[in-house]
């Protein structure tokens, strides 16, 4: 429709987005509150951020989270991309139903069950719980999200380019890296980002998968939040929100630019013919 939005539609959007954003905005504002009380505005202050800087336990947990996030997002992206190719390209093979089941099930599986089952596996395998088991757990649940993201890109993929490469004698593996991967790269990158953010946000599964002395930032936040609201937690949350938001916005602008550039190239190539 070109005539813009009716009043009802506009109201629905305004209220919807206010509901989605207001709590986060308030949280951010009150992280700069000089007063310890949540409802009393005591003037602008950055003292809670200074306090954070001196909280070694929290900083260690944050560094651990980043490490686990980087490793598990990278491995999950490789495995998830492979899984997406299996789902879209390999057609029927024995055990396909089980495979796609195992890809979709983690998306709706309650965290608490995933966490419990992971912990019991690690106990059964006699693995001592820590960073390594955390990574194994995070890779497993986030690779399924990567698979779904990459899969939806592969479904709208123009096969003729790949076929042309293969017809010209390019080996399949090389075709994948030279032709397919560059085209699906934006989806692979957003898959990686999704995996990273899932890993760095997860509190419940991590609580089961980790051991003593290897707590992550969400685990620390969770135990602090159970004790109630504190300005210091507001500050931690604000930093995380800032990182995630700017990451997502930069990535989406970059993908859009890349897409525009690619379309221009394609058009130029067509004109050249």
């Amino acid at each position: 429709m070109t005539k813009g939005l009716s009043k009802i539609n506009l109201t629905a959007l305004t209220f919807g987005f206010a509901f989605l954003y207001l709590p986060i905005v308030l949280l951010v504002i009150y992280s700069f509150n000089a007063s310890r009380l949540v409802t009393v505005w005591g003037g602008f202050s950055t003292k809670w951020y200074v306090e954070l800087w001196n909280n070694q336990q929290l900083i260690d947990a944050a560094l651990r989270s980043v490490q686990v996030g980087l490793v598990s997002a990278t491995v999950a992206t490789v495995l998830g991309t492979m899984a997406a190719i299996v789902l879209v390209r390999l057609g029927r093979f024995p055990g396909r139903t089980l495979f796609s089941g195992m890809i979709y099930a983690p998306l709706v599986m309650p965290d608490i069950i995933t966490g419990l089952s992971m912990l019991l596996l690690f106990v059964a395998m006699d693995l001592s719980r820590g960073m390594f088991t955390l990574m194994l757990a995070h890779i497993t649940f986030s690779m399924c999200y990567v698979a779904i993201v990459v899969q939806s890109r592969l479904l709208t993929f123009d096969r003729s380019l790949e076929e042309a490469a293969l017809d010209l004698g390019c080996p399949p593996a090389k075709t994948f890296f030279v032709v397919t991967l560059p085209i699906i790269l934006p989806a692979v990158i957003s898959g990686w980002m999704l995996a990273f953010s899932l890993s760095i946000d997860d509190a419940v599964i991590s609580q089961f998968a980790t051991g003593p002395g290897a707590s992550t930032l969400p685990i620390e936040i969770f135990s602090a939040v159970r004790r109630g609201v504190s300005p210091q937690m507001n500050a931690v949350c604000t930093i995380l929100i800032a990182i995630v938001t700017s990451g997502v916005i930069i990535a989406s602008i970059a993908t859009k630019r890349a897409e525009v550039a690619r379309m221009r190239e394609e058009r130029a190539a067509m004109a050249g013919r």
Binding site: M1, F17, T39, S100, L116, S117, M118, I241
Partner: protein
């Protein structure tokens, strides 16, 4: 050459193909399926004070006799125990009730939003979609935490209502059912909006024009054309939020109170403080049994969607 490509649709050598299947397949078998089988096994074991805190242990080295002993040692006691302990049974029912109510609330809030997004000018639609997804990228924990500061007895909501003179006494919202509903709706709303938007955006507007030309009033064409055509999105959205909401742990733990004890919390309580691993596993198995029907429907919808597009 074209023929070889056609006969092997993905154009990979058999070995490469096997490798691409085998690596993610084995990973999921070992780290996703096996853990569930272990949960199932432990749910039939006995609680003991030992490390690990359950028996019997399966000792394959002991041969056939050991396997027989193992199966003889299994028990259904943990399942009986769930039914004996009313708090756990009530937790199942309240989980289903809370998840169902939250799903309906979400549908009511998300539908007008998704509808307005689908009717917005084409140029701003991607921005609107992005604006719906963006809060989802921040941690669930943070989004739930944001509400504690608002709903608390001394929180921002009570403070502003009192300041406006609407109420004299602060409202008790935190640690009640209402707080859990707010938390659920807030945390899962994007998962409801996006499938709805996807189905409403595809809607062929000439159908609505045809209805209008034939004298159908707008509200009637909404109920008879728009709503039925958006049903796939409604179904996908509802299952996508209902299933994880039943097993939700963080939201009732932080926003709920004694009246909103959910099954995820019961599982956690059995496992960590009570160290009753078999009991926790039995709760998990029963929770999965409750969810298996909705999960099957959801998977069916997903597979059809993928196959329809491929």
């Amino acid at each position: 050459m074209t023929d070889t490509v056609a006969s092997k649709p993905e154009g990979t050598s058999p070995w490469g193909r096997r490798l691409v299947v085998a690596v993610p397949y084995l990973w999921l078998l070992v780290l996703f399926l096996t853990p569930f089988l272990i949960v199932l096994k432990i749910s039939f074991s006995n609680k003991v004070v030992a490390q690990p805190p359950y028996e019997p242990q399966l000792d394959l080295a002991g041969g056939w006799q050991a396997i027989k002993d193992f199966f003889a040692g299994l028990t259904l006691d943990n399942y009986y125990a769930i039914f004996d302990y009313t708090e756990n049974i009530e937790a199942y029912f309240s989980s289903l009730k809370i998840a169902a109510t939250a799903t309906i609330l979400m549908l009511l809030i998300a539908y007008p939003m998704a509808y307005a997004m689908a009717r917005a000018p084409k140029t701003i639609r991607p921005t609107l979609v992005m604006a719906v997804i963006l809060p989802f990228w921040t941690s669930l924990l943070i989004r739930v935490y944001a509400w504690i500061g608002i709903l608390d007895r001394e929180g921002l909501l009570n403070a502003s209502l009192q300041w406006l003179g609407i109420i004299d006494e602060p409202l008790e919202i935190l640690h009640t059912e209402i707080a859990v509903y707010i938390g659920m709706v807030y945390s899962y709303l994007p998962f409801m909006v996006l499938p709805l938007y996807a189905s409403l955006e595809k809607l062929d507007e000439t159908l609505l024009e045809a209805a209008a030309d034939l004298g159908c009033p707008p509200w009637k064409s909404f109920w008879q054309v728009t709503v039925p055509l958006s049903l796939p999105g409604v179904i996908a959205g509802c299952f996508l939020v209902f299933i994880p909401a039943v097993g939700e742990f963080v939201i009732p733990e932080l926003l709920g109170g004694s009246g909103t004890y959910m099954i995820g919390q019961a599982l956690y309580a059995e496992f960590f403080p009570n160290l009753n691993w078999p009991g926790a596993c039995a709760i998990a198995v029963l929770l999965l049994l409750v969810l298996v029907v909705p999960i099957a429907i959801y998977q069916n919808v997903q597979t059809k969607e993928i196959e329809g597009r491929a």
